[in-house]
């Protein structure tokens, strides 16, 4: 694929405090975090700990993780809103670690998107360029181009009063696009939308990003959002990068127990059991584990096996599960239960076992069924000592 070379304008403050347009050729807008670390004053461990992440030119990178994992802080370090205490951040061939936000040639999307009622949709998109002193002809061209990308051409001369929520979002995107930044940054941009608008907007953002080819870093706590939008997804926890891979690799080969449990909805079943010579014991059943995998865990008495809900198969042998809830969703049925043979107290704290069964009559709630695991289906095996993946 040839990369688009865009003639873009960037701006810096002149001595009088005004923006001066400076024409230049945009180079490779890669983003690199190099051992980037952020420690908040008084905190006992870093909010972001030696983050190393290479984001390719034009790539859509999603940072995801639970609250407090450091994803938002990482984005803000890139934006220049958080100090970098150690390490560095590069955009293309520029070390931006010490640069103020306005000199980084980035655009934060959706930060604020009040639409001005007396101005046309076009002026609503282009007003910041006017402030930056971009000549009218160029402003109009950029607004027209953005409107074309956003399907807003026929709205350009309209007042925004009758725009729907989704259309308003697009005008907000237009504001960022006309600036032609090297990198788009989006920090939970959909968090204030209702569920339906969230889904349609995320599809639109992803499609738009592909067409624009502008490097984008996107932060969300929602792994479904991350998996459906990102070219690659970086999973973080406690300030540490856990894994950065394509969505499918994250799903098929999670590096550790955390990523395995975090990615996927419903989540992967993670069951810890005693190791014997042919596998891992779960109740009265031994989940078969290849010999070479077991060999990697010599010295560990127990291991955690991970089975995605769709990797279970109903059978006459297998893990015995007491079914508590059956939920039919289209052609599939999700069954939720706990390992059989637990006391009522134990059930309360026992991990939920979820199976996604296709194309046959689902089991009844209250019954005990057996799920075949391994035996030709994908099985993930993790060390309990390190939490790391040991299966292939």
């Amino acid at each position: 694929m040839t990369l688009p070379r865009v003639l873009a304008a960037c701006f810096h403050y002149g001595s009088s405090g005004t923006y001066l347009p400076v024409e230049r050729i945009v180079g490779m807008a890669t983003v690199s975090f190099k051992d980037a670390t952020r420690v908040y004053p008084g905190a006992d461990h870093p909010a972001v700990d030696k983050l190393n992440l290479e984001i390719g030119d034009g790539e859509f990178m999603v940072l995801v993780g639970p609250s407090g994992c450091g994803k938002s802080t990482s984005l803000r370090m890139l934006a220049g809103l958080e100090e970098v205490n150690a390490g560095a951040i590069w955009i293309g061939d520029r070390n931006v670690t010490e640069l103020p936000p306005k000199d980084r040639d980035i655009a934060m999307v959706f930060q604020n998107y009040a639409l001005y009622p007396h101005m046309t949709v076009g002026d609503n998109m282009g007003f910041a360029l006017k402030m930056a002193g971009v000549p009218k002809a160029e402003r109009d061209a950029r607004v027209m181009e953005a409107a074309h990308l956003l399907g807003l051409e026929s709205f350009l001369s309209r007042k925004p009063k009758a725009l729907s929520g989704g259309q308003r979002q697009r005008v907000a995107m237009g504001r960022a696009i006309v600036r032609q930044p090297q990198v788009f940054l989006m920090d939970e941009p959909l968090s204030n939308l209702d569920a339906k608008l969230r889904v349609s907007t995320r599809t639109q953002i992803a499609a738009l990003q592909t067409r624009l080819g502008v490097t984008t870093v996107y932060v969300t706590h929602d792994q479904v959002e991350a998996m459906t939008m990102g070219d690659r997804v970086a999973v973080m926890k406690d300030g540490l990068l856990q894994q950065c891979d394509s969505p499918l690799t994250l799903y098929d080969k999670p590096n550790n127990i955390f990523v395995a449990g975090f990615i996927g909805s419903p989540a992967m079943n993670l069951i810890s059991g005693k190791v014997n010579e042919s596998g891992v014991e779960v109740g009265d059943y031994t989940v078969p584990v290849p010999r070479e995998t077991l060999a990697k865990a010599s010295g560990e008495d127990t291991l955690t096996i991970g089975i995605r809900p769709e990797d279970f198969e109903l059978g006459d042998h297998g893990i015995a599960v007491e079914v508590a809830v059956v939920e039919e969703l289209g052609a599939d049925a999700f069954t939720y239960g706990t390992l059989a043979g637990l006391s009522d107290d134990e059930k309360l704290s026992a991990p939920q076992i979820v199976a996604r069964l296709t194309g046959r009559t689902p089991p009844q709630r209250g019954t005990t069924v057996r799920f075949i695991a391994g035996e030709g289906h994908t099985l993930h095996v993790f060390s309990n000592k390190t939490g790391e993946r040991i299966s292939n």
């Binding site: 934006a79 930060q111 007396h118 002026d123 989704g166 209702d194 889904v199 499918l248 769709e310």
Partner: protein, 458 residues
């Protein structure tokens, strides 16, 4: 039966319960609503009547509503000018049982002036500069307590008259974050947002023919950065001077007091040989004059009003030759002999035009001009009557400012919602293929469709 809405509130107001929460705010009967001028908003916002009070109600998703409620509570606790949060109404359902957005309820700020109503009356350039000054002071005060606003705009501020100046109040904290302290990058970012938003707002006023022709949006916003940096440097900057100039410590404190700030903690370091001294304010609190006036008289007023009243108190002390008498005693005399008679002279039906401290300030101004004109010392009460007759009678009501926004030739499309522009803007909107496509999206299930992902990216 339809489930009842839940009300989250630190100070529950039972009058909120019977309101028609089962209706979207856009459909509320107008007898519950008040058409007050306000800024533009991306959410549905209405002013609602609750007994004799007016509250602002905003429809917003739950997490945002609760977040903003907490942020506003923090600001109230920190004594930073912001609207007071009252409640979050959740679990709303319409008559068909369909869920409705939660509503955040805040108290309407009496005597507050949204920028759009100020501008619709025609604003002098120096008034605009005062508004910007007030905004810059508010932003600096927020930054001092670690409050990152992220949506600084005139629409998100209410102004109150403050003697000859304005005081700014925060009204929207939806995007805000509270940090132990802010980095330079964070403050710069807020400043950049302020500049961009204000440029947009001034341009919008210009497009709506509400901005005086002599005012240029770009020139207006260029001053914001300069003003903010100057104020921030004074509030937090390090100052170094020779050890022989120790009076510069006192000067710095006085300059900060003059700006309306108290120094609660000043960091002073001396070089080994004592030849150089470095000072830096560590904790500064706004409201220097407000606090002093409150302590002396119990009057709780804006900062510049307090400054003016304190000046008059000092003059009173001097005129009555009581320099050696305890200040609190003199303050009590001033309150009963000067302030209260003036305020009581105002007939009840005129009291909604200005708050008491503002009236007193304006009477002092009136007296000064009258004395100049008549070449004599006009007594305070005479001045008060003259002011009421010549000035106050003709002023619009500002306790609850409900003057129409436009100049009368153009009507708002919806008197309760300025975000919808004017009635004569235009009619039908064109087809939008993206909207049609979005409508066809399936209802979100929350389940990760891994098969679709494999098809798409495999």
């Amino acid at each position: 039966m339809i489930g009842m809405p839940r009300i989250l509130s630190a100070k529950p107001d039972s009058r909120l319960i019977p309101l028609p929460w089962e209706l979207p705010l856009t459909d509320w009967p107008t007898d519950h609503l008040v058409a007050l001028p306000r800024g533009i908003s991306r959410h549905v916002v209405r002013f609602i009547k609750v007994g004799n009070d007016v509250y602002a109600a905003k429809e917003v998703i739950q997490s945002a509503a609760v977040h903003e409620y907490r942020m506003l509570q923090e600001l109230t606790r920190e004594d930073t000018p912001a609207v007071e949060p009252l409640a979050v109404i959740t679990d709303r359902r319409d008559v068909n049982g369909e869920p409705l957005m939660p509503v955040l309820v805040t108290r309407h700020l009496d005597f507050s002036l949204p920028y759009r109503s100020l501008f619709s009356q025609g604003v002098r350039p120096d008034t605009v500069n005062r508004l910007l000054d007030a905004m810059v002071v508010l932003l600096a005060r927020l930054h001092l307590i670690g409050f990152l606003w992220l949506d600084v705009s005139l629409s998100n501020i209410l102004f109150r008259r403050d003697a000859g100046e304005f005081a700014a109040y925060l009204v929207d904290a939806e995007t805000a974050e509270l940090h132990p302290s802010l980095s330079d990058g964070q403050r710069e970012h807020d400043l950049q947002i302020a500049t961009t938003n204000l440029f947009g707002e001034f341009s919008d006023l210009e497009a709506g023919q509400l901005l005086d022709e002599s005012l240029d949006p770009l020139a207006l916003v260029e001053t914001i950065t300069t003003r903010y940096r100057e104020l921030w440097a004074e509030l937090t900057g390090v100052e170094e001077f020779p050890g022989t100039e120790l009076d510069r410590i006192e000067s710095r404190v006085r300059r900060l007091n003059a700006l309306g700030f108290d120094v609660a903690e000043l960091d002073i370091t001396t070089s080994q040989d004592g030849s150089f001294v470095t000072i830096q304010p560590k904790v500064v609190d706004a409201g220097h004059h407000t606090r002093r006036l409150l302590r002396l008289t119990g009057l709780d007023v804006e900062e510049n009003q307090a400054r003016r009243l304190l000046n008059d108190l000092d003059t009173f002390r001097f005129r009555t030759d009581q320099q050696s008498v305890d200040e609190a005693l003199v303050a009590h005399q001033w309150l009963t002999q000067c302030f209260e008679p003036v305020v009581l002279a105002v007939p009840a039906h005129l009291r909604g035009k200005r708050d008491a401290a503002q009236i007193f300030h304006e009477v002092l101004d009136y007296r000064w001009y009258a004395s100049q004109r008549e070449q004599r010392d006009v007594p305070l009460l005479d001045a008060a009557w003259g002011y009421i007759r010549d000035v106050l009678e003709g002023l619009p009501d500002e306790a609850m400012d409900s003057r129409p926004l436009a100049d009368g030739t153009r009507q708002l499309a919806n008197p309760f919602d300025p975000s919808q522009g004017f009635v004569d803007d235009e009619g039908e909107m064109p087809e939008d293929p993206w909207e049609t496509a979005a409508e066809e999206e399936p209802e979100p299930t929350g389940v990760l469709d891994i098969a679709a992902l494999r098809r798409g990216k495999g």
